[in-house]
Structures are given as C-alpha cells and as structure tokens.
C-alpha cells in the first residue's frame, strides 16, 4: 500500500479514536465537583482514558514511519477492533467488561509492538 495512503488512514483512525474517547473521558468527569484541581485523581483518570486508546495510533505512526509492514497491518487490525469497541460503548449498548477487555488487549498488544519495533532497530 502506498505510504501516503497509509498516513491518511492512520490520521483518520486517530481522529475517530480521539472523537470517540473524548465523550468517554468527559463522562468520567461527570461526578467531579467544579473547581477540582487539574492535577487531581479524577483528571488523571480522564487523561488516561484519552491516552490509553491512543497507543495503537502511536504503534501505527512508528511502524508506518519505519515501513515495518507486519506491524502496520497488525496495527490496522488492532485499530479496527478498538474503534468498534469504542463505538459500541458510545453509540450502542456494548457491555462494559467487553469494552475494558478490548481496550486493554489492543493497548497491551500495541505496547508490545512498540517494544518489538524498538528492539528491531
């Protein structure tokens, strides 16, 4: 696949994941009192909820940049699972357990992939 196309797809995936993770992260702040410090545990959780789903985008960016085809395709597969799981929680009634398992599986595999990519260098 053309490298430009790969970058376009990576950016589109990033957009989708951010736009889906954003409502989940904001919803986690639902019970937070107004005026809570930005360095509080609540904001840390919201921040993590934004960051953890973005690991796969990091994997895609690094592997696309290096041209490691194997991890690029693995990344697409993982990103698809993640997008479906996120959309399932936001727009539909996906059980929360499946959501957590899906996100953790995708993010853990992405971190593993990033470590592998670092080793291969």
């Amino acid at each position: 696949m053309n490298k430009t196309l790969q970058w376009i797809l990576t950016i589109a995936i990033g957009l989708v994941i951010i736009s889906l993770a954003w409502p989940i992260a904001s919803f986690s702040l639902f019970g937070t009192a107004e005026g809570t410090s930005i360095f509080s545990i609540d904001y840390a959780i919201a921040f993590l909820l934004m960051i953890i789903p973005l690991f796969v985008v990091g994997l895609l960016a690094v592997s696309t940049y290096r041209g490691v085809t194997k991890w690029v395709y693995a990344g697409y597969g993982l990103a698809t699972i993640e997008m479906l799981v996120l959309a399932g929680l936001v727009f539909s009634s996906l059980p929360f357990t499946i959501f957590v398992i899906g996100i953790l599986f995708v993010s853990a595999t992405s971190v593993y992939g990033l470590v592998q990519l670092k080793k291969e260098r």
Partner: protein, 291 residues
C-alpha cells in the same frame, strides 16, 4: 536419484512460499479494506451527528425568536453511519396546553405552501391557521378583523388572538394594558414598510413571555435579546439582526398576542389601539366553571 529428490523438495518450497505470500496478501488486503470501511463509517457517523446537532440548535433558536407563541419540543434522533435524522413536535401554547401540533423533521424546513380563502386568512396545508400581523406603518387593502367571530364562540373555548396595534409603542408606554392575557409581543423591525402584504406568524419576530413548557420567564425581554443574539451569530439571519438592532436602539412593540376566553378577548380588544385582529389556535377548555 538424489538430485531429483532435491529438485522436488525445492519446487515444494517455492510453491509453499508462493502460497504463503498469497495468503498474506489476501489477509493484508482484507484487513485494510475492513479498516477503511470501519474508519470512514465512524467518521461519517460523527460528522452526521455533529451536523444534526448544529441544525437542531439553530432550529430551537429559530423557534425562540420567530413564530409568536410557537414552540418546538424535544427532538427524537436517529443517527446512523450514513445519514442522521431527527424530528420534533411543534405547537402553540393555549392555556398552557399544546395546540395545533405538527411534526418538524430534519432538515427542519418550515412548511411553505398555504391556502388563502380570503385576503386576510391563511391556512397551512396541514390545517393550521396562521395568525396575521399588520405593520402600523404600512397601508393594506383589507385588514383582518376577526374580533366579531369571538361573539359566536361558546365560553368553553380558549384561543389565541393576534392584535396588531395602530402604531408602535415603547415597552414602558404599553405597560401591558391587556394584563394577564398577553403571551407574546411583536417587535418593531425599524424598517420602512415597503410591502402591503401582511406578515404571517412564521415570519413574525417577537418576544415570548413563557418558555416552551409554559413557564414564565423572569425577564422575557432579556431572554429574547440573548436568544436572538445567539441566533444571529449562528445563522447570520439579517432580518432578526435588523429587529435586534432596532430593539437595542429603542424597544418598541407593534403587536401583542393574547390568549384567553372569547369573552375576555372581546372585551379587552375594544381599545382604540387595536388595528387588526387575527385568530390563531383554538382549543376546547372545560376546566373552569362556566358562568
């Protein structure tokens, strides 16, 4: 013999490698296609969702400034990856009850076509009668005068009566002469009247005293300024912009919408300040003892 064996082995390896390569290609293409479909569907979904919400906010604000006692209720949305739609009931409030209910569906265009039995009466094709407003600065061939019809009505009716005034009054000067019957004010738009066509309620800009649930605003005029400012900012509606500018210069009203029983309305509109009267929504009302 040995050589031959080796050759068979080699061809096997090549075949295997070729098969594996095909399998990888098919798998990779499949993953890419699925990813592209999922990504573009979700992007379209988010985009449609966002566009629909923008339109819904615009429509709610439009009903806040236009319509004269016409309100829009809660939206029912249906968002799908390829296409989003919403619908909401619209209604007039008569004695705190929704009347002349209609459904407005996305893209939220108002019904345009109407039937005109006479020069001063207009009905939408769904049966809703439109209240007509007459600007004091313009002269008309014929003015709506439906006040006499009130005498033929039983006292178990409650109805809207659009009263166009003989000139524009400042808000202090007007000082709600019709008291608790008043539910909305038609605002002066500061323009020289050039057309002799009456304005029907769909295009009349005014201040509602209550919200869409029939609850009175603490300060309806401030509420109007807030809504109209937001509406003009979002939709660049030049007519509302003009009305708002005129309002900020000097708040003047040129019409008032009354809701009450036929008798109350008949007595109240005896005043000299009344130039034209047009009936809107009518409901049956049996909750008070009738004298």
């Amino acid at each position: 013999m040995e050589k031959r064996e080796r050759f068979e082995l080699d061809s096997n390896v090549i075949q295997k490698a070729r098969r594996k390569s095909y399998r990888n290609m098919v798998l990779a293409s499949f993953i890419v296609v699925v990813t592209i479909v999922v990504t573009s569907s979700l992007l379209a979904w988010q985009w449609n969702n966002w566009r629909l919400h923008e339109k819904m906010v615009d429509t709610e604000l439009r009903y806040d400034v236009y319509g004269m006692n016409r309100y829009i209720g809660n939206f029912e949305e249906k968002v799908r990856p390829w296409g989003a739609e919403a619908k909401a009931p619209t209604y007039s409030l008569v004695a705190n009850r929704p009347a002349n209910t209609a459904r407005l569906e996305s893209p939220f265009h108002e019904p345009r076509a109407y039937i005109e039995p006479s020069e001063t009466v207009r009905y939408l094709q769904n049966g809703r009668k439109l209240k007509m407003w007459y600007a004091p600065s313009a002269s008309y061939g014929e003015l709506a005068n439906e006040r006499a019809q009130l005498l033929h009505m039983p006292e178990t009716k409650r109805l809207e009566l659009a009263v166009s005034l003989d000139r524009s009054y400042s808000v202090e000067e007007w000082n709600s002469r019709f008291g608790s019957l008043e539910v909305a004010y038609w605002l002066e738009d500061g323009a020289e009247a050039e057309s002799d066509e009456p304005i029907d309620e769909r295009f009349a800009v005014g201040v509602s005293i209550t919200n869409e649930a029939g609850k009175r605003y603490a300060s309806p005029f401030d509420q109007f300024v807030e809504d109209a400012t937001r509406y003009v900012e979002r939709t660049k509606d030049t007519y509302v912009g003009k009305v708002l500018e005129a309002y900020k210069k000097e708040p003047r009203i040129r019409g008032v919408l009354l809701v009450g029983s036929p008798n109350e309305l008949y007595e109240a509109t005896e005043s000299e300040a009344v130039r034209a009267t047009s009936i809107g929504a009518i409901i049956d009302y049996y909750e008070e003892e009738v004298q």
